[in-house]
Amino acid sequence: MMQSRNIYDTHVCRVLRVYPLTDTEKLFLFRFEDPSIGMNWRFKPGTFVELSQPGVGEVPISICSSSMRIGFFELCIRNAGRVTQKIHSLKPGDTVGIRGPYGNGFPMEKFEGRDLLLVAAGLGMAPLRSVFLYALDNRWQFGNITIINAAKTGPELLFMHELDAMRDIAEAENITILQTTTRDERWGGLKGRAATHLDKVNVDPNNTAVALCGPPHMYKSMFEELMRRGFDPRRIFVTVERRMKCGVGKCGHCNIGTAANWMYVCKDGPVFDYYDMISTPGLI
């Protein structure tokens, strides 16, 4: 991991491309201004960066591109407030500050040799895309893969077109892509919450690593459903969100847990396993 001397200092990155994804989300492709930093910059799926726009502020954003691509990375950003609104106004050629990557990321080494089940709801697709693309880039290390992408409506499905376009080649590679909406009358595809489509997956519960990301209320039902189907709780992983100002376990905003088990989402997470999730009050 690259470590600048001042941990809060950022590297200048330039926006290469901006793709609008939905009404509120855009995908940004960045390149490090200094190529030598870019070439040495590595991250794990599930980690995040602190993205800053001097004069406006700094926000944590998951990296959503494949960690195999070097010198570039992608962020999928929702226009949610002050900073992200400003980021949304950026055009190719504009610059931002980046520091990181931060967080533990998904334990990809533990996933190797297993089937993968990725379940994303809403913005959850952003960090899971990184896992998914990583798995595609290292296809031989994994068994069957299913990805479930859920949102309220079709137009809100993140990376809907990208996943759609992959469908054919995916099938050839034993990858099942399920996209579902919960509240879209006009949506022609699957309907209902992600948990309702678990019978359509092509993975073996006995030998599957599960990665989940979505709104907090999704986890409980998802856990129950997975457990009922015999997925091994030791191999269920979740990535969560909290307020963060530093990303390195100092500012205190992302604290979770109790006196007996005190953690910081930015350092001890954002990826947690099933047992952390159920035993840490306030984590779900």
Partner: protein, 339 residues
């Protein structure tokens, strides 16, 4: 360890000597009943009998308000705005505060060290002094009533002077440079010191072992105390802002009128404020005063691994400086089922 004696009549000279190392900060009286660390010009204003300062000494390493960076929007680069305070001396730190600072070190100087804190930490000379507990102190329970490291010099009051423990290379240098002020320790000095230690121990009001507290806090999550006590809270944040081990901060960008320049500042935050757990979209992970109130008790009683003690060092500030008189120690004892 090296031990020396500083006779009372040499104290003043010693303090003036200390000023030679940089700005001298020491406890002084700031109002009728309160003390704080302040820059000291006249060493006679130093209060040796203070109980506790309003703000903990962390303010010299982790300032309440500090500029991290300056920037110019045009090239998107951040320019480190660390201001070197030069060498400075903090005189009069009590053991709990010395240990509190080491607790802070464990968070700020880890594998990703906070460079601002670390650079200042390297500039600070710490002279500790022993104290007598009052009704708010429970550092003994927290294992923070005796500092065995984390200082350059430490003074124990004797009847006619101070027994000094030298705790660092810097400490040796300081005493070497003015060795004419010191005397060798005599046997009776040691017996005076042990007597004083015993007296101090006898002054503490509680002697429980709180090792199980962490688990009880978890188990007692629906104890009626939480409702009752959090209702009294006015969310002023005093308890956290005066705590020697609290370290939450917020960061804000302050742009300039020219539309380009500006600075990124950070300032102390408190988990007792609504904003602390708020994320975009309005979801708040600690939405109620009750949640926030509990959060502090959990955080302060978590286990600081590097120090093998809890994050709370028992200095008593959060109780003394709570405007509505919420008594933190008493509450913890109630959670433990103590009377």
């Amino acid at each position: 360890m090296r031990y020396l004696k500083l006779p009372h009549e040499k104290r003043r000279e010693f303090l003036i000597e200390l000023k030679g190392y940089g700005i001298l900060y020491a406890p002084v009286s700031i109002s009728e009943k309160n003390f704080d660390y302040k820059k000291v010009d006249d060493v006679d204003t130093i209060r040796f009998d203070y109980n506790r300062t309003v703000l903990p000494p962390r303010k010299y390493f982790f300032p309440p308000n500090e500029t991290l960076f300056k920037f110019d929007k045009k090239d998107c680069r951040l320019i480190d705005a660390y201001e070197d305070p030069g060498t400075f001396v903090i005189f009069g730190m009590h053991p709990c505060d010395i240990i509190g600072l080491r607790v802070l070190d464990s968070r700020f100087i880890d594998d990703q060290p906070d460079t601002y804190y670390k650079r200042r930490r390297e500039k600070g000379i710490i002279i500790g002094i022993d104290c007598l507990p009052d009704e708010y102190c429970f550092c003994n329970i927290r294992d923070a009533d005796f500092a065995d490291r984390g200082f350059d010099l430490f003074l124990h009051e004797l009847d006619d002077g101070y027994l000094i423990r030298v705790g660092s290379v810097m400490g040796h240098k300081i005493v070497d440079a003015c060795d004419h002020l010191f005397e060798a320790i005599k046997a009776e000095d040691i017996s005076v010191m042990t007597r004083k230690e015993r007296e101090k121990q006898a002054m503490f009001q509680h002697y429980e072992n709180w090792d199980n507290l962490r688990y009880l806090l978890e188990l007692q999550d629906s104890h009626p105390l939480w409702e009752r006590e959090s209702e009294k809270c006015i969310s002023c944040g005093n308890c956290t802002l005066t705590c020697p081990t609290c370290r939450c901060y917020d960061v804000q960008d302050v742009p300039e009128l020219d539309g380009n320049g500006g600075k990124r500042i950070r300032f102390w935050d408190s988990c007792q404020y609504r904003e602390h757990g708020l994320v975009a979209g309005g979801h708040n992970f600690r939405d109620t005063k009750l949640d926030r109130f509990k959060n502090r008790y959990q955080c302060k009683n978590a286990y600081c691994e590097t120090m093998t003690i809890s994050y709370c060092v028992g200095c008593g500030r959060c109780t003394q400086f709570c405007p509505t008189g919420i008594n933190y120690r008493k509450n913890l004892m109630e959670i433990r089922g103590d009377e």
